[in-house]
Symmetry: C2
Subunit: 308 residues, 2 copies
């Protein structure tokens, strides 16, 4: 369907709930709130459904006032799979009427779907949808959409960033969005717990295969008092090191160890993880291992030395 | 003078040397090489003068082939003050004919100056100058200019990033620049020495004033085997911590300690540093202190506790 058809469909309804995914990120929060704000502006009712509220997005939550209405139309934004609805899955399974997303891998089964995998963020799609709905951009909407796009592109750093991404961000800046403040809060603010975790991770880093493989780990004890947003991104640390071709992050879970593998220079992370029953993409894959931490490290070291 | 006048002036000459500043960054290197490439394209001779070659910019150095000619016209790019020419000052002092820069504080004394302090990077000025010279953009020039603009804006993160910055970056992406690879190498690659330094810095971090002030330090021993590009950016670490209003970085030098002060929420870094004979901007200032490391830390802690 075209974005015009999405807009026509939305305009036939009046009372919306917009679903976001579990472990909410800037793109799902920013996209959902921008859409809700636009819908309220044109006289509709809308609320955003979340599994949890993270303090870092308070400036966005505050934009939308709660109102009492019975929802009749369910839209999901940035949700690639029903299982990502988390604790909301039991209420909303099979009830999504319109799915708006940018994940190529989208597996939502809904009567209407608009998936643009060229978009760096779902926020880019909402940016284009808003004028079709007859709503006007304003600073709040611009702040939501800037948050969506800058977080999903690592502040315009990742390879998903297109020239269109940059032009949309330019328009959002012209609309007066607080780009510098949003970037500071999203990318340059770390809790003391996070700083302590980074220190411990760096302290315990293991190199093998002549420095071409770096392994870091977090234990349940290291992360026991931290929120999900404080532990995210650790997996990007080992691959950043000069000369490292395989960066491995081991996270202790209740029953096993979750392993994230990130690679450089074309080393195949997916086939590496397949050795352990996992998989993923060529430069970013994952698997799970059982045993003691020492055993898990030893297995991964041996595999890395064989590959490199 | 207008950019058209800058272009007319340049077109009257044939053999150029383009000066960069000491401790070269992506903006001075990218701007100087983009200009040199454009000049060679229109049949002129040009070379770039640097105090040192950093490996991270090898992909840029390789774009320009050395040629033998006697320079008759000296242009500086991104150089705010003659003293920033470093070891080249003795050869080029008083010889700059045309100064192209974006620093409001520019103090170069040259017959012709074009300073646009609205530009986030000198690279933005060179981007606009190139078509006026009758040169055509190409991938090499786009890679130089993207490097210039992305490094001086912290990958479009800092408050100097304007909508024009984003639109220029969009055009560079459309020209085929290797934006993702450049960002990876500039922002996501760290040497093992740098990682070790970060670990030590985090390990020794001191909090005071009820967590509103964080102090980190580097000693000569900690940095003895590291290049300048491996130690840069440490000063941004303490201010990133949630709740920190004054972030202080102490760097041991041969004869004293150089102190960088970065603040949040309007705390005046400049007046803080003036207590110790230093100064700077409201959110970023510096000063020098003598004594033992313990004494220096104690003085700064006392001052922070008084201010907060």
């Amino acid at each position: 369907m075209t974005l015009k058809e999405v807009s026509d469909l939305i305009l036939q309804h009046n009372n919306f709930e917009i679903l976001t995914h579990d472990y909410p990120d800037g793109d799902c929060i920013g996209s959902a709130f921008a859409l809700a704000l636009a819908l309220k502006q044109i006289g509709k009712n809308a609320r955003v459904i979340m599994t949890e509220r993270l303090n870092k997005y308070n400036y966005i939550y505050d934009m939308l006032t709660e109102s009492d209405f019975k929802a009749e139309y369910i839209i999901s934004t940035d949700v690639a799979d029903e299982k990502l609805l988390g604790s909301n899955k039991k209420f909303y399974s099979g009830k999504i009427e319109l799915c708006i997303d940018h994940h190529k891998s989208n597996r939502i089964d809904a009567p209407y779907k608009y998936v643009d995998s060229e978009a760096a963020a779902a926020g880019e799609i909402i940016f284009k949808l808003i004028p079709l709905l007859g709503a006007k951009y304003n600073k709040d909407i611009a702040d939501c959409l800037y948050t969506a796009i800058s977080t999903d592109t690592g502040c315009f750093r990742y390879s998903n960033t297109t020239s269109e991404t940059m032009r949309i961000a330019a328009e959002l800046i012209d609309l007066g969005c607080s780009s510098a403040e949003i970037n500071k809060s999203m990318f340059e603010t770390k809790s003391r717990g996070r700083i302590e975790l980074e220190r411990e991770v760096l302290e315990n880093m293991i190199f093998c295969a002549g420095g071409k493989c770096a392994i870091v780990y977090t234990t349940l004890k290291m992360t026991e008092n931290l929120g999900d947003d404080e532990t995210e991104g650790i997996a990007s640390i080992p691959r950043q090191i000069e000369g490292v071709k395989i960066g491995i992050t081991i996270r202790e879970k209740e029953n096993d160890y979750k392993v994230s593998v990130r690679t450089n220079d074309g080393v195949d992370a997916c086939s590496f993880c397949k050795r352990f029953g996992g998989g993923g993409h060529i430069a970013a894959s994952g698997c799970s291992l059982k045993g003691s931490l020492e055993e898990v490290i030893e297995k991964l070291k041996t595999a890395a030395e064989e590959v490199l």
